[in-house]
């Protein structure tokens, strides 16, 4: 079953659809024309570049090039996590990179080598989109985990100090905030799995069905990707927070001011 192509005039028609929300926003007094315009333009250019690059990756199907693409995605995700979590990359970049790289490489290779089993494990058609999807979700989780953890510590500075004064080690004193941060980070994935298919049809499954796959095959891939997202997000958040404990505190267990971006 072939997927129907969208021709240029139809694409133009699609962009025209944006006029409706733009008009409604303008009518209620929200002047977001510039933001909307920039966002649509960026999305178009970025996806076109990705399209060109992916086409090249799929055609060449070179393991080193595929690896390089994943490395670039990891670096961009690393810096994006820290920027959005309000932490300085100078201090945390290596720890966050190690955490997401370890969890993404583990879950992606597990999925590709043990579950999907393509002829070549490095097959760009599998490894690049799967790693990208897992990483995208892992990124959200890590932003929540780091942001929650460090803002909770700053907000509850006295409580944290009280734990230390009562004889807690650094790990014992941060444990309540650590647990809360991990819970907040993985909750969306757990809730997403619980309502999957009921509230909305998942993106990857929809894409596969539109691409001509049998619904059953699409369902199996969706389950596989969700389990990998859940695993890698949990693993990455725990490793990331654990590694950050050696960076975010001084030798006397006091939270270092200089590691946090000034608001």
């Amino acid at each position: 079953m072939e997927t129907l192509d969208i021709q240029l005039p139809q694409m133009a028609l699609l962009y025209g659809l944006c006029l409706l929300p733009w008009l409604l926003l303008w009518l209620i007094g929200l002047r977001l024309s510039r933001d909307i315009g920039i966002s649509i333009l960026r999305m178009t250019i970025q996806l076109m570049l990705v399209g060109i690059y992916l086409k090249m990756l799929f055609d060449l199907n070179n393991p080193w090039l595929n690896g390089l693409w994943i490395l670039v995605m990891l670096i961009v995700a690393d810096l994006s996590i820290l920027r959005r979590a309000g932490l300085k990359a100078r201090y945390f970049a290596l720890a966050t990179f190690a955490a997401i790289a370890a969890s993404i490489l583990f879950s992606t290779t597990y999925l590709v080598i043990l579950v999907i089993q393509p002829a070549h494990f490095y097959d760009a058609r599998y490894i690049v989109p799967l790693a990208g999807m897992i990483l995208g979700n892992c990124l959200q989780g890590n932003v929540i985990a780091l942001e929650r953890f460090y803002s909770a510590l700053r907000k509850n500075e006295n409580e944290y100090a009280t734990f230390l004064m009562l004889g807690a080690t650094r790990w014992e004193a941060v444990r309540p905030y650590f647990r809360d941060a991990v819970k907040a980070a993985i909750n969306p994935t757990i809730a997403g799995m619980a309502t999957m298919g009921l509230v909305s049809l998942p993106g990857m499954m929809t894409g596969q069905i539109l691409g001509g796959s049998e619904p059953w095959l699409a369902v199996k891939y969706q389950i596989a990707i969700m389990i990998c997202i859940f695993t890698s997000t949990t693993v990455a958040c725990i490793i990331n927070l654990k590694l950050s404990l050696n960076i975010g505190f001084d030798a006397f267990d006091v939270l270092r001011d200089e590691v946090v971006e000034k608001p």
Partner: protein, 212 residues
């Protein structure tokens, strides 16, 4: 007898502001000392520096003859009870607050018995029924005495008290005075309460981070 605490020419800078400058003093076991001075003179900073909460720029703090280092700070904290004006109970109920430190590895094997719990509460004029009350629903004065009770349950010998009588009535204040009349307990306190100052054996005057 060797001092339990010794500050040797200690200077502390926080956010590029000098808060303690060349501070030297010593305290022997059992002594009751008070730091006096205007607000912002650095009184509370002395207590926090001893607990490793402020970075030392120069000089050395000694606790039981050992210099304060990242390796020894855990010992200092385990042997010291710090009670501030608004102590954090850090637990849902008063009973949980009193037993909180016994969840930590350092005190896990010394969980107090029910009778010890009651004895300590009575010593501080606190009713036994307070054990089941919510931490968020007790007064400032009760919080201060519960924090003190937690220190006593841990068998601490050194007490760092920051305006600890500020929310107490006369009767509760007397109970606290009685507790600290124990010659085994060492006290380094910060207060504006003349009655408390009167009962202390050593008075340190601080002005702009310097001992006068």
């Amino acid at each position: 007898m060797s001092p339990i605490i010794r500050f040797d020419r200690v200077s502390v800078t926080v956010h590029e502001k000098t808060i303690l400058s060349d501070v030297s003093f010593a305290l022997l076991p059992g002594e009751k000392a008070v730091l006096c001075g205007k607000s912002g003179s650095g009184k509370s900073s002395v207590l926090k520096t001893l607990l490793g909460l402020h970075p030392i720029k120069s000089g050395t703090v000694y606790f039981q003859q050992q210099p304060l280092t990242p390796a020894s700070v855990q010992t200092v904290r385990s042997c010291t009870a710090y009670i501030g004006q608004e102590p954090m109970l850090a637990a849902e109920s008063v009973r949980e607050a009193l037993l909180l430190p016994f969840q930590f590895k350092a005190h896990r094997d010394h969980r107090p018995t029910e009778s010890r719990l009651i004895e300590v509460l009575q010593r501080l004029q606190l009713p036994v029924s307070i054990l089941s009350r919510q931490s968020s629903r007790i007064s400032g004065g009760e919080k201060q005495r519960i924090a003190l009770a937690r220190g006593l349950l841990l068998g601490k010998k050194l007490y760092l008290l920051d305006e600890v009588t500020s929310a107490l009535d006369a009767e509760s204040k007397q109970a606290v005075f009685d507790v600290f009349s124990d010659p085994e307990l060492t006290v380094l306190s910060v207060t504006h309460d003349p009655e408390w100052v009167e009962r202390c054996t050593i008075i340190f005057e601080l002005e702009a981070g310097r001992l006068t």
